[in-house]
Symmetry: C2
Subunit: 192 residues, 2 copies
Amino acid sequence: MKDRRIRKSQEAIKAAVIELMMDKSFDQITIQDISDRADVSRRTVYLHYMDKFDLVDKLIEEHINRLRELCDIAGHDAEYTDMGLLWFEYLEKHHLFFSAMLASRGNSFFRNRFLDFFLQELKNMVKGKEIHERSITGLTEDDDVETQFVGAAIVGVVEWWFKNGKPHPPSLMAQRMGTLLERNLKADTPKA
Amino acid sequence: MKDRRIRKSQEAIKAAVIELMMDKSFDQITIQDISDRADVSRRTVYLHYMDKFDLVDKLIEEHINRLRELCDIAGHDAEYTDMGLLWFEYLEKHHLFFSAMLASRGNSFFRNRFLDFFLQELKNMVKGKEIHERSITGLTEDDDVETQFVGAAIVGVVEWWFKNGKPHPPSLMAQRMGTLLERNLKADTPKA
DNA sequence: TTGGATTTGTGAATTAATGCACGAAACCTG
DNA sequence: CAGGTTTCGTGCATTAATTCACAAATCCAA
């Protein structure tokens, strides 16, 4: 088992960053602020992270990983609505972090990581469903236009959701989103 | 400045004890429980305290001292009602601790420390008021019956207050208590 | 009462966190 | 841009906290 001091320091530091992001924009948060808020020596921050960016990097990494785990558990052949529910519930649970990340302009870095996650997940899901529904749809190319389209759309919706103070509960968001994903990912290749 | 690690450990440990006292009675709380709850090594508890009793001892000490400080700031010539307000506000603020202490039977130890505090404070206040109102009332003997009487009464009222889920706000308690203290400490020597 | 499990108190080695100090970089502000 | 102030990143010595281990005490059910 890892030394509990490490866990406690890191948790305090990470929580401090998130809290600070609620008032200040990320780039005007100083390491001093973080260590003060975390009630930890400034030296301790450097003991665990290279700098601010490394810190927020690891925060993002962690959340994306947990999201991915959630998806893996649900299975890639889950219904879009069910998957969406997992997403929005997780996002709501950690709304402090996500809204702070999405609110701060200049954070295209996070947006890209976030988008990547959805793209990956969408590809998995489409592939998972192909097995059951139709063997080859031509959607398997890596730079698939539909996937990019839908991925960007999801991120946009999430962004809107946070910026407007989460006007709908995760269940409703998941349901609406599910419908849209169905329409855009399921049955559009069989055309003329 | 004291090392922040010390403060953090001690605060975690003390908070843990108070939390644990809400479910278990004090004597069935183990050091293991405390260190687990505090998220601290068992060794760390022994680093700061001799044993459970030393721990709770210091907790009591601390609260009594803070109460005393409050009284000193207010001044011993304050009105009984005002003083009572300070008491009850403090008690309400730390109701977790005080109700846990008063609830657990077998804690005559705490009761006595608590009583001592009030006795001391009453003597100070009576003395403080003598200056303004009447020079010698014969109440200055150390083992004064009236003081003991009133002291026990206060502790009894506080005990009742907690055991009945704080039915009145501190302000009302202070006002009622003030009246009773006035009646019993101010004007009773000028008799026949 | 006995015997197994739990809790206790402590020793010892190791590791993490702290405080402090310092030069360098960045950053306002006049 | 010059000069003062803040923040940064790091070295270093010190101290607190941790893990692990162990023998003694205590508890508790069979």
